[in-house]
Symmetry: C2
Subunit: 333 residues, 2 copies
């Protein structure tokens, strides 16, 4: 295992130390509980928006804490759900009297732990907590860690859009409705050229031959739809985009198109993939209104990419364009 780490059991904590130092103008970190907070949390009168999940997907979620996006993020161990104590602390820590929204990727452990924390928080302080589950992955119906579809790339877009609405003063009920609309209008599909090695495991989570790729992969190396010989980018793009278009009718729609890197694929390849995705969308009568290209929801050093399409109405586009100031996404301010 070749990694820039010290102690395999302390990677998340050690990394959060550097993250806080590098972004002390945006966040503070509770190192005991491994929760990243906006510097000015809680904000009175604003709905607190929090997320979290296993580490190893950086910049998700801590990199999306800041103005116009999340108020806090809970960092679990690598590829492991955060525990209820973390989520409970974050929920209380962002409660500004207007309620708290939990954005949860659809994995069994995450769902369970966020739910438990929501119940305890409400019982202890009376805070209103609502939850939206993201389940955008068209690759598989159920998986090793999931009942139903997995939550993947759409999480980034949803956190941006819902975070912008919260920043503009939307109430909890409106945010829940918006989040459900976004989740219903977005779909994703991913692939891997290589595996990845969680530090504490010390060995790859799956094996791939030198000429093989895995299509329909999850962000924890869960098995995908099929293992195939490595193919040219234009064929890979079709393998990712066509199942998305088959699952939801995007014809004539304006979309936010997101080509995500899994961590080990360089930008030169991700932009090339985006060109191929854009060609297919144009040929399919789908208009790209906005785009995002880069490694935003990753699987450690895995090489590969995912495609997310969101059918975006005018409100979503406006919220997407709104200012954001986080470690991972920053514009307009």
């Amino acid at each position: 295992m070749k990694k820039l780490i010290n102690d395999a059991t302390a990677v998340v904590n050690d990394s959060l130390v550097g993250f806080e130092l590098a972004h002390s103008d945006i966040v503070r970190v509770d190192h005991e509980l491994q929760v990243v907070y906006r510097l000015d949390a809680p904000r009175q009168g604003k709905v607190g928006v929090i997320s979290g999940g296993g580490s190893g997907h950086e910049p998700l979620h801590g990199g999306f804490v800041g103005y116009g996006m999340l108020d806090a993020a809970c960092a679990g161990a690598v590829f492991t759900s955060p525990v209820p104590d973390q989520i409970l602390a974050a929920t209380k820590g962002v409660d500004g009297g207007a309620g708290v929204l939990h954005i949860v990727k659809n994995y069994t452990g995450d769902i369970m732990n966020f739910e438990m924390a929501a119940e305890i928080a409400n019982a202890e302080t009376g805070v209103a907590v609502e939850t939206v589950v993201v389940d955008d992955d068209v690759a598989v119906q159920d998986s090793l860690y999931t009942a139903g579809r997995r939550g993947v790339g759409l999480t980034v877009l949803l956190e941006k859009i819902v975070g912008a609405a919260a920043e503009s003063g939307a109430d909890l009920a409106s945010l829940v409705a918006l989040a459900h609309r976004v989740n219903g209008a977005g779909r994703s599909m991913g692939m891997a050229l290589t595996s990845c090695t969680p530090p504490e495991k010390g060995s790859p989570i799956f094996e791939l031959g030198d000429d093989e790729m895995e299509v329909g992969i999850g962000i924890h190396g869960e098995p995908g739809r099929e293992r195939r010989p490595v193919a040219p980018a234009k064929e890979v793009a079709a393998m990712l985009v066509e199942p998305i278009l088959a699952d939801l009718d995007f014809r004539g729609a304006d979309v936010i198109a997101f080509v995500n890197g899994m961590g080990g694929s360089p930008l030169i390849e991700l932009y090339l993939m985006y060109a191929e995705v854009a060609k297919i969308l144009e040929a399919s009568g789908v208009r790209v209104a906005r785009s995002l290209v880069g490694p935003y929801i990753t699987s450690l050093e895995m090489a590969g990419c995912s495609v997310t399409l969101l059918k975006a109405d005018d409100e979503m586009i406006k919220l997407w364009d709104a200012p954001v100031q986080t470690a991972g996404l920053r514009w307009g301010r």
Copy 2:
């Protein structure tokens, strides 16, 4: 070779297609010459600032074209200098009557081709062209592709700072003086955990054993100072920072500290490395005024990192903080 590409001979061109589509609000691309321009270039009365170099280092340089940074960037083939025709076109294309500054990393081919283009441009149009060479790498004195030190991570900081000064209306002579000051005050050192494979070569540029790393690596896989067993991050940080501190006296200075990813190392490791670098700097009496952590000058999918320190005076800090709107760096606007 596992890559998200179509034709190994067309990777740069195919990638620029996606880059332009993804950032059409910031850049336009001359696809025949592979030059990335700011949408509003040339700007009358503003010094045109251009750079360029081999591809495979993305987001450098095309990702730094835009408001507050570069006016154009020339994309050579992977790990190959751009040719004079590209640089000539870029020089003419950003000439707004106030002269043009060439920012050139210190590689023999780059120096020669930028110089030739500068001479032709001046002869043909009378435009005043000045050149600043970046040579910040303390690892080796000469190398396979270099007389003197290589130009590496400092290039990113210099393009930001000098670009901001150009945006604010500085004249050509002032920009040259500033660029020399920045180059004189910055040092870098890098290392690799893995090699990388240029698409047209189809095989790794060097071999590293499963338990080896290369310290003092260049951004084209040029041999470094030494090959060593993989070490903990804190030791790696010391191997990178100590030669920098030994080369230039940073004690008591405010620095911009930059931990750069080589392309294949995920953010979770880069932030961890930054924490280790920050510890050494604190113990050495060096104050971090600003920081940058992420993959900004890469070597395709190479795993590893580099450290750059810039002794920054108040003017440099102010220019660093100034608004920038490029694909690769964006803040404050």
